[in-house]
Amino acid sequence: MSNQKYAIFLGCMIPYREVAYEVSARRIADVVGIELVEMPDSNCCGLPLDPVNHEMAIALAARDLCLAESMGLNLMTLCNGCFGFLTKMNKKLKEDRALRERVNEHLKGIGMEFKGTIDVKHFIGVLIESVGIEKLSNLVTRPLEGLKIAEHYGCHFLRPHKYLGTDDAENPTVLAKLIELTGATVVDYLDERECCGGTVIGIDENVPIRLARNKLKSIKDAGAEAIVTICPNCHMIYDLNQPRIEKIFSESYGLPVLYYPQLLGLAMGMSPDELAVGELRVKADRVLNRLIQKA
């Protein structure tokens, strides 16, 4: 199986509201030689329905996994939620025979069978494993020296550790390494690993709003100029909702929230337009002006 060719799974959130992630990730994939093959009749990964009906959630995940199996390609996600759920379900379906037989019974009706022949990858994992820090560093032509970045992983990239195993969940380093190769500096802040709370926004919006406020404040206090995320759900909480949070708490953060491939693309000399930086709610002008001044 080729390391450089993946079935790309977009999920729901990215096409719905977070298209900047897709644009920038595809640009980076192009440049570093990752070939992405579309999954034309894929469906939701199943995660949003897990609280309602676990059986349906697994069936949806299994159908997507079967599609990638039939393509003979590993499946690559951009969204942490899709990554976490599909990885966990893929692992469980491979290891638990009783579960596999039960789910295959559901799949029989649509002419599919889970065989367990592929792996699920996150775009960030692919950058690290298939491209590598060294090659990425060599592609940096406009180092973002002096730019202070606060990182936010998002839970479903790291946990549960026993299923995902991407990095040390209590003390991860992958994202910091990727940010530092752009020349930017990673700033530590209080409660870095705290969840964005985005999944419960429909139940009680005060939860993510208050969690996000705490995080934005800690990041501001730590002196960061921008946030870097790798998950559309977290991004929506910190970027799309930032003006609202500023209003509710009468505070001002003005923290642009970049997707990692946007940051990397800027360091590779790509234009903000190519990376859909204009799609961000909190304008990244201050960060971009610094780049122009330096050039």
Binding site: L10, R17, N43, P48, V52, N53, I110, I209
Partner: protein
């Protein structure tokens, strides 16, 4: 702020001695019995830090005691953000998120389904995805040089929804 989830504590409590066995039998509910109330989950929980009502170890205890109605009709079970911090840190290996998911699945069967999940469910049955992408977004994809979005096979999704009993819950 509106919408703060509050627990009702004044009603008399009814015990269902079979409840815990029902949870234990469901996929994901198996680890309910091994919790020994150390509280690591709650002290690690980002939601518990800011919520007055959400205490995962208490939910587990109520379920173990068979306080079925109190657990299943409670809004607090829906406050788990599935960050898995407690799952990673539990010294007993309780799959807290899976146990809570099992409780939520049972609550849905009893008719307690939050509106947001009904909406997500309907969207999946209609489009195959949890959110319906607006027309404007579909058009702007072309301008941004993005390929056409996947179109889910609705008849497959519907068949799976029938097989798994999901369709009865949402419609």
């Amino acid at each position: 702020m509106s919408n703060e989830v509050k627990e009702e504590t004044s009603k008399p409590l009814r015990i269902d001695p079979w409840f815990k066995h029902k949870v234990l039998e469901m996929p994901g509910g198996e680890t309910l019995k091994i919790c020994f109330q150390c509280g690591t989950c709650t002290s690690s929980c980002p939601i518990a830090h800011i919520s007055d009502s959400y205490r995962p170890n208490q939910i587990i205890r109520l379920a173990q005691f068979g306080l079925k109605d109190k657990v299943l009709s409670s809004k607090t079970i829906w406050l788990c953000a599935a960050c898995f911090t407690c799952v990673d840190r539990c010294p007993q290996g309780v799959e807290m998120e899976s146990v809570l998911r099992t409780l939520k699945n049972l609550a849905v069967k009893e008719g307690h389904i939050p509106k947001v999940f009904k909406d997500l469910g309907s969207a999946v049955l209609e489009t195959g995805f949890a959110y319906k992408v607006p027309e404007l977004r579909l058009k702007s994809r072309k301008d941004l040089g993005l390929p056409t979005l996947p179109k889910a096979k609705i008849e497959d999704v519907k068949k799976l929804a029938e097989k798994t009993g999901f369709i009865a819950i949402v419609s």
